[in-house]
Symmetry: C2
Subunit: 302 residues, 2 copies
């Protein structure tokens, strides 16, 4: 089952050097999520052949323009394409009024949209289904802002195919074995679960943390995630700007990644002060070697 | 003095095939205008190296999303760059509320913005200065929509340089000659104005007509313009769609261009039903040979 992140926009504040403002497309099994939606996100989805019509849920970190100005256009395009499927949008308070004001005088959309308000003051379970759970995380920015952690749900064990024939297992027995039970054969013999099954693949997880000061309070919330995208708006050379604008540096992001013991760190939300990006990778890698440079159009598969 | 149109976005309704929604940049002498502002207009300005900071006036034809969703991002970027110069935005009623709703919770902009409401029911002079006058034109679309005509103001005649020395003309005499007067020399001799001056260059003009049904009532308003951009959302093969959605075909645009005796016709506002565009040029050219295909990044100089 696929778990893959595609970066659509990776620049901070305003587009520059061909880089677009923040937007990400995340596939987890058969769920397709959009995370933030800066201006031009729909163009980027076309550029990178992302199946945007499959998106059912959109998660918005905060209401600064570079994270939301692509939403009206995306909804408008969904509408023009005759979309029928419901869309759920999760964000801190105030988004609904901003978006609905944009959709006039076009009238009603062809599909239902529900806005869900996230309380940004504590971590909450904001969405779950059989395969994934999404929690919000409070972060520290100039306006109410949250991060998100997407975690695969625990899956049943895998039955070893050769054991089905060997012990003539029935469907209910297979189901019980996958749930971790030992199996008693008609002969009375007990087969230990460990013989019948292999453990499920490790659970994968992704944390999206943008637009925040360096703050160690997020560490427990993202402990051990497979992939962490963390605000790296600046490098050391603009440390004061980072503090002043309530953003993080590449080094700070790497420190958080290191403390949280994540699998990989992806950089992003680059300031327009930087024409080239290698410096972000260099700086973060000195602290956390498993860093990859976040680039538009790149897909990070877990 | 320059008079040049650069097309930033040329697609209808939604971006497709790398084409962006409507936006145009117009330079007339030292005035820089933006006409409509679809999503991604600011990215297109970067792509085509348009000096966006020089824009002082924005003209919006109507409030459908594909003509305005780039405005919040553009204003936001102006703000981030510390813009000080005032910005005037002209549009049918309702735009101010839509835009201001987007700029929260970012607070006040660093520069003053004035919204000017255009009455879409009749042609009006909506802006003028020493070098240009801009009139609105009513067009026929699903919501209140206007076109725009930009006309150079009449200029003084050109003094023939060699005549200044020949007759020892004073500054007041030169000024009088440029205004069309004959000049009396100290000897009493009268020099005819035609000898002293050459006529000014012909006045140039540009008409922007988008999102309208075929309607001959616009012809008097755009009579003889140097350059006409006219809605060509469809070709003959989707004539009914054009009527239903209140748009025009390439043939209809060419008929209008022909009736108005314009210099050149530029096509645009292409439906996403068309992957390639040659058909628009072919269809319009059969009726009006001086047609050029409107393409993003192209500049049409007069």
């Amino acid at each position: 089952m696929k778990f893959a992140l595609t970066i659509l926009g990776v620049n901070a504040a305003t587009p520059a050097f061909g880089r677009f403002p923040t937007a990400q497309f995340l596939q987890i099994h058969n769920d397709y999520f959009l995370i933030d939606c800066g201006e031009g996100a729909q163009m980027r989805m076309s550029d990178f052949q992302v199946p945007r019509h499959k998106i059912r849920r959109i998660f918005i970190s905060h209401l600064h323009g570079d994270h939301i100005f692509g939403l009206p256009g995306l909804l408008f395009s969904f509408d023009l394409n005759g979309r029928q499927e419901a869309l759920d949008i999760f964000s801190p308070a105030g988004l609904e009024e901003m978006i609905l004001a944009q959709l006039q005088p076009g009238g009603k959309l062809t599909f239902p949209v529900s806005f869900h308000e996230i309380d940004p003051t504590s971590s909450r379970l904001i969405f779950e289904n059989d395969s994934v759970a999404v929690h919000s995380i409070p972060v520290w920015h100039r306006i109410p802002t949250v991060g998100f952690v997407f975690r695969e749900k625990p899956r049943p064990k895998n039955i070893r195919p050769e054991k089905i024939g060997q012990y003539q297992l029935s469907i209910p027995q297979i189901k019980a074995a996958k749930a971790g039970e030992n199996i008693q054969l008609p002969s009375g013999q007990i087969i230990e679960n460990e013989e019948l099954t292999s453990p499920p693949a490790p659970l994968r997880s992704y944390a999206f943390i943008t637009d925040t000061l360096y703050d160690e309070r997020i560490v427990p919330h993202i402990q051990g995630v497979s992939l962490l995208y963390h605000d790296t708006t600046f490098c050391d050379d603009f440390l004061e700007n980072a503090a002043h604008t309530m953003h993080s540096t590449a080094r700070q992001a790497a420190q958080i990644a290191s403390m949280a013991g994540v699998g990989r760190l992806v950089t992003g939300h680059y300031s327009s002060r930087y024409k080239t990006l290698e410096v972000f990778l260099e700086e973060a890698s000195t602290v956390f070697p498993r860093t990859v440079l976040g680039l538009e159009g790149s897909t990070y598969e877990l």
